[in-house]
């Protein structure tokens, strides 16, 4: 069994983006609202654990990834890494050591790679800027190691290639190699395979799972695809409008979902030969704006099972099984 201590802990994390009012509003002193992208999120990732963060666009899942990698500043709550509070760390020395431990893989490998840099330079850049190597021999050794771990073999063949000389799958591997080069303990991967062809996806997922198995690296896998989350993750956290609605083991979430939103997501996922779960009709309408959150349970306007209490009172996370929580009043019974 894996080491159970948490590597990452988010406590009541909030990211509110202020809405800039017009000049007129400001002169009259009218209050401006805020887009509550992440609104009180509690999440922990264990050492060597793969956690999938699942949600639709606008659920705030990418913002969570940006906060963890210190690309966005939270407006409330705490971000703890190995027990240390990183929330308001901004000094470059603190961030340098943090980025040695936490790396990010972006969705779009076409945009994440500098078209004028060779593969070698792209992968070497974090090693150079974090000053992790002493000489060129060490540098090329670490780059080779990272490229090989990302499945680009033999690594030497790829050193001098530019991004345009690589296929889509190879580009995504270079992005992964860049993140791996510094040997991080946690990787945040934001939709790392959604731009890739189905036949290439499995190869990339295999690389990520191997990293965990060999180096005990933790992974926060951000996706909108529940079957994919089930495949790769130990635990799945389902996010709706900036808040967790359900969290549990990958099997519990997939086979014993307790929140109506999770059920709706599962039902909407097209499946080969799979029958829809009876009892819950398809969702109508769209995700409301995070600038005007509904009262009570934020899912109630679309929930097919909503009743009066849901409209006024926001449900807390209720334990529905071992390590399985659902934020739904129906879970209380």
């Amino acid at each position: 069994m894996r080491d159970s201590s948490d590597i990452l802990r988010l406590e009541n994390l909030q990211v509110h983006f202020p809405i800039q009012g017009g000049l007129f509003d400001r002169m009259l002193g009218r209050p401006c609202g805020a887009v509550r992208a992440v609104d009180g999120l509690d999440l922990n990732v264990g050492r060597g654990e793969i956690v999938a963060l699942v949600g639709e666009s606008g659920s705030g899942k990418s913002t969570v990834g940006r906060v963890i990698t210190k690309l966005s500043q939270p407006t409330g709550g705490r971000l703890l890494f190995e027990g240390r509070d990183m929330t308001s760390q901004r000094s470059s020395s603190a961030l340098r050591s943090y980025r040695h431990h936490v790396q990010m893989i972006f969705q779009d490998a076409y945009q994440a790679l500098n078209p004028r840099h060779t593969t070698f330079d792209i992968v070497a850049e974090p090693l150079r800027s974090l000053r992790l190597v002493d000489n060129d021999a060490q540098l090329s050794e670490r780059v080779s190691e990272a490229l090989a771990a990302a499945g680009l073999n033999p690594p030497g063949d790829f050193f001098a290639r530019f991004p345009h000389e690589l296929s889509g799958g190879q580009r995504q591997r270079v992005v992964i190699a860049g993140a791996l080069a510094v040997k991080p303990e946690l990787i945040v991967a934001d939709e790392p395979v959604s731009m890739l062809d189905v036949s290439i996806r499995a190869q990339i997922l295999q690389v990520l799972v191997d990293l965990r198995d060999r180096h005990n690296m933790a992974l926060l896998f951000i996706t909108h695809d529940l079957p994919l989350a089930w495949l790769i993750a130990d635990r799945i956290a389902v996010l709706y409008l900036g808040k967790l609605v359900e969290i549990g083991s990958a099997d519990d979430i997939t086979f014993k979902p307790r929140h109506p939103y999770t059920v709706a997501l599962l039902n909407a996922t097209p499946q080969i030969g799979g029958a829809a779960r009876p009892g819950v009709p398809a969702l109508q309408g769209e995700v409301p704006s995070a600038a005007r959150l509904p009262n009570g349970c934020r899912f109630h306007p679309r929930c097919p099972l909503a009743f009066d209490r849901c409209k006024v009172e926001e449900p807390p996370a209720i334990e529905v099984g071992p390590h399985h929580m659902s934020a739904c009043w129906l879970a209380e019974r």
Binding site: S167, Q271, A282
Partner: protein
């Protein structure tokens, strides 16, 4: 979906269609001898990876090939008449009125400075000769057909969500009452729940208006609930063709098998997907013989030298040396 189709002249017949793209010096063959038929009201999915030729096939049928493309072989018949697919001007009466396209990026396909009713009314004025008033009335009718309340017609594209914009695209495609809709990855940029809503809308519209659908997608799982038939393409050629039930229950071509195995499916409980080894083929240097042979787990020596013919197999067709055709009456797939 079980539709029974009368066995008469198909709505659309594609015979040995090949399209080349002009590239400095050598032409690049994007599709190579594609043949299939589409019947009234039928939904066919074209499935393949990027570069498999699925979009080129569909754009050729719709007469929307880019200027550097050249039809180098084969022909397309619509209701028994040959379509001048390489003649832009001659295709004009056909486009939109008979075959229309729902494009992938709705934000790029809609004009950002016009209200959506005006954009939907445009083809009605140009193609059907309606007056502005009639066309606006038709536009509102179309909006309601795709599930957008009429009062949202004054909105600009940026005021609508991705799912709503895709509905507007569908309304525009339906404006001139076509018989064939080509959906080019219509749900790829959408969330699962919105995707399910759009697929349901397409399903409802098909049965309501007796539309034929050509759905282009790289995602086999989308096909299961929205199409009657699937055509799997690889490197510009059709490698397998059959009903949805057949393809999923008993895929014949090794590529189809691997494609199905690479989709995570919690229903079968196996937490493993098999990667397809290697990279998608390079069209400039297409592998000899069967284009899939460098990645195929069951390659034989004949696969490296001879292009397998797309022969009848069961109710469908398959192009693989493991499954030699039973009859000799099919078109050969060869350049």
């Amino acid at each position: 979906m079980t539709n029974s189709f009368p066995d008469k002249e198909p709505l659309l017949r594609v015979d040995g269609l090949s399209v080349d793209y002009g590239l400095k010096g050598d032409p690049l063959r994007a599709i190579d001898g594609v043949s299939f038929e589409l019947r009234t009201g039928e939904a066919v999915a074209l499935v393949g990876e990027s570069g498999s030729g699925k979009t080129t096939t569909a754009m050729a049928i719709a007469g929307l090939l880019s200027p550097n493309a050249r039809v180098s072989g084969g022909q397309v018949h619509y209701r028994g008449q040959r379509l001048p697919i390489d003649d832009d001007a001659a295709m004009r009466p056909h486009r939109w009125s008979e075959t229309s396209v729902v494009f992938q990026g709705a934000m790029n396909a809609l004009n950002p400075v016009h209200r959506i009713t005006k954009q939907i009314a445009e083809p009605c004025i140009l193609k059907l000769g309606m007056t502005r008033g009639e066309a606006t009335a038709r536009a509102i009718e179309l909006l309601e057909l795709v599930g957008i309340p009429a009062d949202r017609g004054v909105a600009y594209p940026h005021e609508l969500s991705g799912g709503m914009r895709q509905r507007v695209m569908i309304a525009m495609a339906l404006a001139c009452r076509p018989s064939i809709i080509v959906g080019d990855e219509p749900t790829t940029a959408l969330d699962v729940i919105t995707q399910a809503q759009i697929l349901k809308l397409l399903r409802d519209l098909r049965s309501q208006l007796n539309l034929a659908l050509i759905l282009i997608t790289h995602d086999l799982s989308v096909v299961a609930e929205s199409c009657d038939r699937v055509m799997i393409m690889y490197s510009g050629r059709v490698v397998e063709d059959g009903t949805v039930a057949e393809i999923f229950a008993e895929p014949k071509h090794p590529y189809t098998k691997l494609l199905i195995a690479s989709i995570p499916n919690p229903a079968n409980g196996k937490k493993m997907i098999r990667p397809i080894p290697g990279d998608p083929p390079n069209l400039v240097n297409r592998p000899s013989g069967c284009a899939f042979h460098p990645r195929c787990p069951s390659t034989m020596s004949v696969c490296t030298t001879e292009v397998p013919r797309l022969g009848r197999f069961g109710h469908g067709r398959v192009a693989c040396h493991l499954h030699p055709p039973l009859q000799e009456n099919m078109v050969t797939v060869h350049a």
